[in-house]
Symmetry: C2
Subunit: 463 residues, 2 copies
């Protein structure tokens, strides 16, 4: 076999070239545009995506350069879009190591170091939220994590459903806030744990809860959305009322999905009051040590009792997956380097910058806040172009404001100056508004926040 | 904020140090041991896993060096363990890019290049299996993929179950082979597609199907295991019989999970015969274009109709996840570089090496094959130490053979010379045997395969 087939390439020269490309394009220390945006059809003319024939290593490096060039720079300080943010360098170092080793996390035998670092990340995380003897598993995102929660609650209440399915059961009801909720990634979740120093139940959202209800055979119509207050926090008395309604209809309240930082408004549900209601009705609110018996399927070819080490170090049977990427390792490397204090300060700093932005726009012409105060680092606001200021706020006026989001976003993205999300909140009859999401990486400066305000005005005033 | 908190470190110097560590430790071009094995408790004394206080960058690099040192080298030619293998350098290059950019794959807006490269990987893959207008999504592993299949089959047959749950439905039955099946990762699946040039249904296993039946509310007892022939292939007449039994019990046959390369014996179910049975009974056998309507939950904050581009480029609503890692990109980079031909040849070569190993041990003293022929690159065999040869094969003899697997594995791992899996197959009453898994990376040589035979004899003859 020649080198192309045999994998005899100089791997490390290749990796160094990739690092060179990342450096020369300022991927992680950005200057210049947040994104060089092109429509899908245009982009297809700029990169040859087609697979089939081989290319040279130089051609591939050119494609990699273009990939970096035309991708979104999530590490740019003016990337304020939803759901994710920049890269922590020490997390990236861990990610490169785990990708290079190509380890799967299901048994200690094949993942000796990674199985122990995952245990430590879980242990340290549990300590932050005050669980002395909890257990956990890293899962690929919030939607799957929510399904774990629902499956665990079902197993606790109806252990036979694992074997028999849910056919014979009464209808099971899932309660969640009517406000679409934030999908906090694991990392920011732990940062937030530290900052707010209170018990946070894993991220929820009725978007992902609805998907989970479908997948798990419980039905999307059995997700009951509980009314929230002006800030977006679930109203305990409404939950209590919904639970009583379910019971009177012969249904069984199964689980309350609490939200600690809703997706849009960043609200925290009143966990302690909800906990009391859950306790009174025997409803699942949080995850405990049932993971193993709930998920285990005990593949004999993986989890033999005759191992050369204590098989309790294998995590595969806790997971609904089998092989898993060692996603915890990058969290371990960055946490190891930064330590609890610096992580806490990163969160403090993000909150400070969000508050600075909030104070800057609070009474500024053209800006209107969706809420007076926000509980996380999300700041939601409308921008009102000069021609629409001091007008009667009729239905027509609001429908014009609704169009400002897409139009201003288009200008910001086409110029490459900044990325920020917008969305309506239909159940509150709120037209498209912007959502500034301030993450820990990269840490923002006041000058970054001022730039954001300036850019919104620059393009918004033209609309 | 100081640098530690602000992320002002020299990212690229750090990445180059990581590449240096990978190179100096021969991670991807291994010489020396497959693993430097330590028991969990010993390993905890060799690395300080504890999280809490900060460490210096030098201390972290030292921990990273030790992580590499004490991890399993999956790119070593004598790593023959189950489920995964070595790293393709061009795939690694793609992985580093996608980790550095930290992109999530749910909308074209935030993942412009990656959304197009994923489409191309899906298109090229579908072409290999002969689907002209299929669709797909990258999911985090075989277990989740199997759940997609089951959810799709349920939605096609009972679309209202998405909304109502499965409470009112008759019991739904899932059929799968009694042989625990291979969890083919996406990559090797596509390689195998190419090699075998036939329709392969996505990887199945009753281990993961059982987990899926639990999660999806269908119940593990409604997974019916169909008897397989001597080679491990599902017997169509037994499937037909099981389907008739389900119907006579008032149950509904929902899906047949076919297996193309069982986990242990590497058997391919007779897909065409099974397809005829499925067609006759209206049972789901494969995945088609229902992905969207089945999974969609339409979060308005992500999938607005008023976007600046065609929202059909967003993939988030196809997935049960929301944010997803851009796992397809590393497949795109390596496929782009190598091209169809070289990928096909890599598979041919892996099959050739597995067959060379098979021929070498076929009549060799001390080796006994579990099957005469194997359909994938798995080769299953017992090793019989000299003291147990030419003895009566009593129950006691077999119980001694059963102990050879763990004992020989222990010696191979403690010496660090080689890693290979072993397991029993209980439903066939087969005692612990070895399973040589030959993967595409690193491409093995005849000399590697001879070394494997030699090492098994060296340590096995002492037992």
């Amino acid at each position: 076999m020649d080198d192309r087939k045999a994998g005899g390439e100089d791997v490390f020269a290749l990796l160094r070239s990739v690092v060179d490309v990342l450096e020369s394009s300022h991927t992680l220390t950005p200057s210049g545009a947040v994104v060089q945006y092109h429509d899908p059809l245009d982009l297809e003319t700029l990169l040859d995506f087609k697979l089939g024939d081989e290319t040279s290593a130089d051609q591939l490096m050119d494609l990699i350069s273009k990939t970096v060039k035309f991708s979104v720079r999530t590490s740019h300080p003016l990337f304020f879009n939803q759901l994710y943010g920049g890269t922590d360098p020490f997390g990236l170092a861990g990610a490169v190591v785990s990708e290079a080793l190509n380890t799967s996390a299901y048994t200690h035998e094949v993942a000796p170091v990674f199985s122990l670092s995952e245990r430590e990340v879980l242990k340290a995380s549990l300590k932050l939220v005050g669980f002395d003897d909890g257990d956990g598993i890293f899962s690929p995102g919030g939607s799957i994590s929510n399904m774990y929660g629902i499956v665990l609650s079902r197993f606790r209440r109806f252990p036979d459903s694992k074997k028999d399915g849910v056919y014979g059961l009464p209808t099971l009801v899932i309660y969640t806030s009517q406000d679409v909720s934030r999908k906090i990634d694991t990392l920011s979740m732990y940062f937030l744990f530290n900052y707010f120093n209170r018990l946070l139940v894993h991220s929820q959202s009725h978007y992902s809860v609805t998907k989970g209800a479908n997948w798990l055979g419980l039905g999307t119509s059995n997700v009951v959305k509980i009314e929230s207050d002006a800030r977006g926090k679930m109203i305990p008395s409404k939950l209590e009322e919904a639970i009583r309604n379910s019971i009177s209809e012969g249904k069984i309240p199964l689980i309350v999905n609490c939200t600690s930082g809703t997706t849009v408004l960043g609200a925290f549900d009143p966990l302690e009051e909800i906990a009391k209601i859950c306790e009174a009705h025997g409803i699942w609110m949080h995850v405990d040590g049932l993971l193993k018996s709930c998920n285990m399927a005990g593949a004999t070819y993986l989890f033999q009792p005759d191992k050369m080490y204590d098989p309790s170090y294998d995590s595969g049977d806790l997971s609904v997956q089998c092989g898993r990427k060692v996603d915890s390792f990058k969290l371990w490397t960055l946490w190891k380097y930064r330590g609890n204090c610096a992580l806490g300060e990163l969160v403090d700093h993000a909150v400070e910058m969000a508050n600075y932005f909030l104070d800057t726009i609070r009474n500024r012409p053209g800006f209107r806040l969706v809420l007076d105060e926000f509980e996380t680092t999300n700041v939601c606001f409308w921008f009102i172009p000069p021609r629409l200021r001091d007008c009667d706020e009729t239905e027509d006026w609001w429908s014009q404001i609704h169009k400002v989001g897409p139009a201003l976003k288009k200008k910001l993205v086409e110029s490459g100056d900044m990325m920020i999300g917008y969305q309506p909140l239909e159940h509150r009859n709120l037209k498209n508004f912007f959502r500034m999401v301030v993450t820990c990486h990269p840490p923002r400066t006041k000058s970054d926040m001022d730039s954001a305000v300036g850019l919104i005005e620059k393009y918004g005033n033209q609309l």
